[in-house]
């Protein structure tokens, strides 16, 4: 696995390394592992029963969301809390095109992604001028606006939502989610290695310094934001097809985004596989908790978030891989962050 960076200072809560990782060997190891995981993922549905396939599809969903969030929140340092807006755009566009336009899924989904990217570019041109806190709140506001809009308009079925045609069998969703996840991870891998990726890292690290070195920040921020939106929409479209029913309150929900953020942070922000690892761990925990008590699993998750934030703010990978040991790294984190 590609290792997350060593201890650094908090810039925006996402201690991230820019640019290509220094070690070719680490790259090669990571790629080999990823290839192995991909092959395993491709054959799993043939081996496991549907219950587990569903769970893993859910993990893929959050893997996409976490990786996508990482592009804007981790790499660029703009913590987006309204990602579910794009999830919803993808879901509703796919749904409406399939239901009323009788389009096949394979056409409806990309349409949703592109629409979301355009919306992100438009919104981003306004919102990405804002600083961290305000950006977070404004994006949240955007999500709430879309929620209210879809609840009020007829084309989206108003408060009752819309139904989608059913698919042939469950593995359709599994493979689409896997495909989208591969795209998300590839985006996370490619971006830091490109010229745009350097701009984004520089902007995250020090926007003023980046500007006097020839980087005009807004276009690059919009790029990251639109990429994030595209991927959220992909996940949303597939999710809508899977659920066959979407309505405003469930899809335009900050829970999706917060889970994505928590997973990205705890797997290791600014790394390629960190968000996916975070998704796997936290989603699995979530499933286990749900089985213990359906009713209280949110309470447990809330408590878990609090504990993780206090004791492992730099992510679980950091904690477990720290050379000084688990307790020492927890102590260090506390010493750095407490009053």
């Amino acid at each position: 696995m590609i290792r997350p960076p060593a201890v650094g200072t908090a810039v925006s809560g996402a201690e991230a390394t820019a640019g290509p990782l220094p070690s070719r060997a680490a790259d090669a190891r990571g790629i080999a592992l990823a290839a192995a995981a991909l092959i395993a993922a491709l054959v799993l549905p043939a081996v496991l029963n549907t219950y587990y396939v569903r769970i893993i599809t859910g993990i893929f969903l959050f893997g996409i969301l976490a990786s996508a969030w990482n592009l804007i929140g981790g790499y660029t340092g703009y913590p987006d809390f309204g990602g579910a807006a794009f999830l919803g755009i993808g879901a509703y566009t796919t749904g409406i095109l399939m239901l009323r336009g009788h389009a096949p899924f394979a056409a409806a989904l990309p349409a949703g992604c592109i629409l979301a990217a355009i919306a992100a570019a438009g919104m981003g041109a306004l919102l990405l001028r804002l600083r961290g806190h305000y950006f977070a709140i404004a994006t949240l506001g955007f999500m709430l606006v879309l929620r209210q809009l879809t609840a009020n308009l007829d084309i989206t079925g108003g408060g009752s939502g819309i139904n989608l045609p059913a698919a042939s069998d469950f593995t359709v969703f599994y493979y689409w989610m896997l495909g989208a996840l591969v795209v998300a991870v590839l985006a996370g891998f490619a971006l830091p290695r490109t010229r745009a990726g350097y701009a984004i890292a520089a902007i995250r690290e020090n926007q003023d310094a980046a500007q006097v070195l020839g980087i005009e920040p807004l276009p690059y921020k919009i790029l990251a934001y639109a990429a994030n939106a595209f991927l959220f929409a992909a996940a949303g479209g597939i999710y809508a097809y899977w659920l066959t029913f979407i309505e405003p309150l469930t899809i335009f929900n900050i829970d999706f985004t917060v889970q994505a953020v928590v997973m990205a942070l705890f797997g290791g922000p600014g790394t390629v596989f960190g968000p996916v690892v975070g998704a796997v761990i936290l989603k699995t925990l979530d499933v286990v908790l749900t089985n213990i008590s359906l009713f209280l699993h949110n309470v447990f998750f809330g408590g878990l978030v609090c504990l993780l934030v206090i004791f492992a703010p730099r992510g679980l990978a950091e904690i477990f891989q720290s050379p000084a040991g688990l307790r020492a790294s927890i102590r260090d984190a506390l010493r750095e962050n407490r009053v």
Binding site: P5, G8, T9, V11, E15, A16, T17, A18, G19, P20, P22, R193, T194, R195, Y198, A199, A201, A202, E205, N206, D208, A209, A210, Q211, V212, L213, G214, I215, E216, P217
Partner: protein, 250 residues
Amino acid sequence: MALLAAAGVTKLFGRLAALNRVDVAIEPGEIVGLIGPNGAGKSTLVNLITGMETPTAGRITFDGADITGRRPAAIARLGIARTFQIAQPFRNMTVRQNVAVPSLFRAARASGVAEALDRADGVLDLVGLGAKRALPARALTTPDLRRLELAKAIALGPRLMLLDEVMAGLTPAETDAEMALLRRINTQGITLLVIEHVLRVVMGLCRRIVVLHHGTKIAEGSPQAVTSDPAVVAAYLGVRHAGRDDAGPR
């Protein structure tokens, strides 16, 4: 024609005039010094030239073109580089990556990543940071961070460099080395505007000095002329003679 000309530049913060109708012209190839007590407006002038702030009044032209109020990134690409008084590295990127950034962005389609990284190596060797290229910038000492600032400015490939107190806190030997480096950069065709408190540097490097005080230009001329100007001496209460080697006026 002057490379950089600031005409009647005024900057007000509320009712405080950080700069008041300042005229400065820098000819190509010069090394011009900008001195003045703290709060004189030196950094403000640099901020205005580089586009980080907009003047309340006045015009700034670079190579004949009006750059007043243009965006910082555009001005950087026109060929004006600056260092910051407090170094502003990209902390979590390596030294090499830090210097690659200006290489990548100095023109709209400047270069690829690999090419920029190679070019960065050359610049790092020039400033003496070659050995530390793979370290993350946050691991550098303050003098090294200053060198990194300089390296990034050089890597932008500018025609004009605005240096904001790059010599502060250096030993005499280090100061000499930096001065030699700046002279070398200058002979390669880069015009320099040097803000400094260290008088020895200003006297030794600059052919011409501009003195600011409370936002106005109070003197301009050769180092000897300026440092014996009674107005300048009065502005710097702590200086009794010109040409002293210490840290300079406070």
